[in-house]
Symmetry: C2
Subunit: 428 residues, 2 copies
C-alpha cells in the first residue's frame, strides 16, 4: 500500500517514517488474527479489502471530498451526532484510537495511568501517524468521561476540537434541555464550518441514511442469535469498526450483502463454531480498530462471541431516530430522545444498561459474559459491580477482564478465559 499513497500521506503532513513502521506491522497482525479464522463468510471479502486499504483508499476518498469543498469531522463517541454532520454535507469519521503503537507518543505528555484508547488517539495526533486525523477539519468531543474531557483540551491545541456537554443524569428534564441546546449549538457550528444550512429536509435525509446503517448492523447482530452463529465475533466486530469510517451508503449495502449470505448459512444450519461451543457476550468498553485482542483470544479458545454490549456493538444500533417531525426543531428533539437512550456508563444511575445486559443475554442465549474494561476507565470499571450482580441473579457466569492495548497480558488472559470456559462447560 505504501508506494501508492505516499504522496497523499505527505500532503496530509504525516510523519512518513513513523507511519511507515505502523504500516509494516499491520498486515502481519491482520493475517495472524483475522485471515487465520476458519470458515469465514465470503462476503467478508469487502471488509478484508477495506482493512488492507486501511490508510489508503478511504483516506483518498476523504481527500477528494475535501477537494470538492466538503468537510470532514472526526469523532470518538456515539454521542457525536453524525446525522447533523451529514445534513451539513460533512462526513463523519471515527478516528484512530485502538493501537498500542501511538501510546509512547502520548506518554511524552500524558500520564501513563490513563485509558489506552485516550492515550492512543492523542498519540496518533501528536505523532502524526493517523491519516484520518490529518483529514479532519474539526473534531467533535464530548464530556462522557474525565480522561477524554481533559485530553480534548490538549487535542484542541493540535486540531479544532468542539466540545458537546453530555448530561449525566439520564432522566432529568434539565438534562434533556441542556442536550437540546448542545445539539442546536453544534448545528450552528457545523453550519459555520461547512458554510451549509441544515434544513429539515436535509436533516431528515441524513437521519434516514444513518438509520439504514443502524438497521443493517442490527440485522447482522440479530443473525448472531442463531446457533451455531453464522459469523465469528471477530468478523462482526471488524464490520462494526469499519462502519465508523467507511462511506455510509456503500457500507450499508455491503453489510446487507453479508447478511444475505449469513441468512443462507442459517437456513443450512451452517456456522463458524463447533455445535456445543459456549456462546459469550462481551459487555463494557468500546474496541477501536485494530483492538481485536479479546475476541481473538476467546475465539481461538473454543468459544463464540455472539454479541457486544458496547459502543462498538449494540449501543450503536439498538435504537433508531424517529423521523415523524416536519421541522428542524422536531427532528432535533427526536435526536435528543434517541441519544438519551444510549446507556453509556457516564450516566448515573445507568439502570438502562443493566436491563439491556440482562435482556441481550437472554435474546442471544449466551452461556456467560466477559465484562471488558479498558485500564483506568473508572466508569465501566465501577459499573461492573452492578452488572455482575444482575448476571449473578440470572445465574450467568461473568469474567471481568481489565486490560490495555499491549500484548503483555495476553497469555494471562488466555489462561483466565480457558478456566472460565471450563466453568461454563461444567454448567452446560
Amino acid at each position: 500500500m505504501g508506494e501508492k499513497y505516499v504522496e497523499l500521506w505527505k500532503s496530509l503532513g504525516l510523519d512518513l517514517k513513523k507511519h511507515g513502521q505502523l504500516m509494516e506491522a499491520l498486515p502481519k497482525f491482520v493475517v495472524d488474527l483475522v485471515f487465520s479464522q476458519k470458515n469465514r463468510p465470503k462476503k467478508m471479502d469487502y471488509f478484508d479489502f477495506v482493512l488492507s486499504e486501511i490508510h489508503g483508499l478511504r483516506v483518498e476518498e476523504l481527500a477528494k471530498l475535501r477537494a470538492a469543498g466538503n468537510k470532514v469531522v472526526g469523532a470518538f463517541c456515539l454521542y457525536a451526532p453524525e446525522e447533523l454532520a451529514y445534513a451539513a454535507n460533512a462526513t463523519m469519521v471515527g478516528l484512530c484510537g485502538g493501537a498500542d503503537f501511538s501510546v509512547p507518543d502520548a506518554e511524552k505528555v500524558l500520564p501513563q495511568n490513563l485509558c489506552p484508547l485516550i492515550k492512543s488517539f492523542y498519540g496518533f495526533k501528536v505523532g502524526l501517524t493517523c491519516p484520518y486525523f490529518q483529514s479532519c477539519d474539526m473534531v467533535v468531543g464530548e464530556t462522557t468521561c474525565d480522561g477524554k474531557k481533559k485530553v480534548y483540551e490538549l487535542l484542541n491545541e493540535e486540531i479544532p476540537t468542539y466540545i458537546m456537554e453530555i448530561p449525566h443524569k439520564p432522566d432529568s428534564a434539565q438534562g434533556r434541555k441542556l442536550w437540546l441546546k448542545e445539539l442546536e449549538m453544534f448545528k450552528a457550528e457545523l453550519e459555520r464550518v461547512t458554510g451549509n444550512n441544515i434544513t429539515a429536509e436535509k436533516l431528515k435525509a441524513s437521519i434516514d441514511l444513518i438509520n439504514n446503517k443502524r438497521k443493517a448492523l442490527k440485522r447482522l447482530s440479530d443473525l448472531r442469535k442463531n446457533s451455531p452463529t453464522p459469523i465469528s465475533g471477530l468478523d462482526a466486530l471488524i464490520v462494526m469498526q469499519i462502519s465508523f469510517y467507511d462511506d455510509v451508503k456503500r457500507l450499508t449495502a455491503k453489510v446487507n450483502e453479508l447478511c444475505d449470505e449469513l441468512e443462507e448459512r442459517v437456513r443450512k444450519g451452517e456456522g463458524v463454531a463447533e455445535k456445543n461451543a459456549p456462546r459469550l457476550m462481551v459487555s463494557g468498553c468500546p474496541m477501536a480498530i485494530p483492538n481485536w485482542k479479546l475476541h481473538s483470544i476467546v475465539e481461538t479458545s473454543g468459544a463464540s462471541i455472539v454479541a457486544e454490549e458496547s459502543c462498538t456493538g449494540t449501543r450503536y444500533f439498538s435504537d433508531l431516530v424517529e423521523t415523524k417531525g416536519e421541522t428542524v426543531d422536531d427532528l432535533l428533539l427526536a435526536l435528543v430522545e434517541k441519544y438519551a437512550k444510549i446507556p453509556c456508563a457516564c450516566f448515573t444511575p445507568n439502570d438502562a444498561r443493566i436491563k439491556s445486559v440482562e435482556k441481550l443475554a437472554k435474546e442471544f442465549n449466551v452461556n456467560g459474559v466477559i465484562y471488558y474494561t479498558l485500564q483506568y476507565c473508572h466508569s465501566y470499571n465501577v459499573e461492573s459491580v452492578k452488572v455482575g450482580r444482575a448476571l449473578k441473579s440470572a445465574d450467568l457466569p461473568m469474567l471481568k477482564i481489565e486490560t490495555d492495548y499491549g500484548s503483555g497480558d495476553s497469555g494471562q488472559i488466555k489462561t483466565r478465559v480457558e478456566a472460565f470456559l471450563e466453568i461454563i462447560k461444567g454448567k452446560q
Copy 2:
C-alpha cells in the same frame, strides 16, 4: 476517648472492634506529625482539642441536634451547597475520606486502581468505622468526577445519596440553567427531608453564616502571605479540614482568634520557619483529614507551604455569595454565580484555575509549586500539563507528586522534595 463515647458509637451502629483499631492508631499519628511541629501558635490549642475529640465531641453534638429533630447532611465536595442545608435547619458535614485505614474494606467491592479518597469514603461507610457517616440522614453527591459519580450509586445502597449534576462547561448559559434547576431540586429535597421551608430570610441568614466562615478562612490564608509565614502549612491545612465538619459559628470565632494571634506574630516579625526557607504552594487535589503526608514531608524538609490551591484551600474561600437579592430566586441565582467560580478540574476548559494558580503564586510570593494529584484522578492529573506550562512561563519550578494514602512512597517523595528544594535554593 474510647470509654466515654462507646455507647454513642454503639447507638450509631459502628463496628466497635474495627473502629477501636482506628482510634488506637490515630493519637500516635497526630503526635508524630502535628504536635511535633515547632513554634506552633497557642490558638491551635482549640484545633488540637478538636483533633483529639475527632470521633467524640462533635459526633455527640450531631446526636443532640438529631435528637432535637434536626437533620445532618454529609458531603464530599465544595459544590454541595451548604447554604441551602443550613437554611433548612440542617447541618452539613464533610465525611471521612482521608485515611488508608478503610481502603481494604472498599477494595472488597471496588477496583484497586481508583482514587484513594473515593475508596476511603466508601470503605468508611461499608466498614462502619466513620461516626459522621453514621450520623447522616442523607448524603449529597455530585457529578464532578467519574469515580465519585459511579461509587455514589453503590453508596446509595448504604445511605440515601442525592446526586446533583454539575455542568462541565463553565461558561455555558445552558449549564447555568441546569445548575439553577439542580439547586431548586436540592432545595425541595432538603425541605422534604427536614420538613422545614427554606425562606428568603433563612437563606440569607445562612449565606451570611457561611460567608463569615469563608471570610475567616480567607483572613487566615492572607496572613500566610507574610514572610516568614506565621503558621505552618500543616496547621493551616488542619484548620481548613476541621472547618468542614465543626460547628460553623464556633469554628469561625476560633479561626478569627487564631488570626488575631497570627497578626501579632506578623507585627513582631515572628514565624514558624527559617528566614530563607523556600515558600511553596500546593496545587491540585483536596486533602481530607488526616491526609497530612505531603505537608509533613515538605515542612520537615525545611520548606514552608504557604498556600493550597485546592478544595481544601483557596477554592473554598476565594469567593463569597452575594446577598443583594430579596427573594429565594435571587439568592439561588447568587449561589449559581458563586459555585460557577470554583475552578474544579471537572470544568473544560478550566482556564480560571490556570489563571488562579498564576495569581496565587504571585500573591503568596512562592518559590515553587508542588502539583499534588491523588492516584488515578484523571482530571487533576491531566490538568497538570496546562498548569505546568503556565508555571514554566512564570519561571516557577513545579514538582508533580502523584500518590495515595499509604506510607509506602513517603521515602521516595521525601527524596524528590529534597531534590526540588535544592533546585529552588539554587535559584534563590
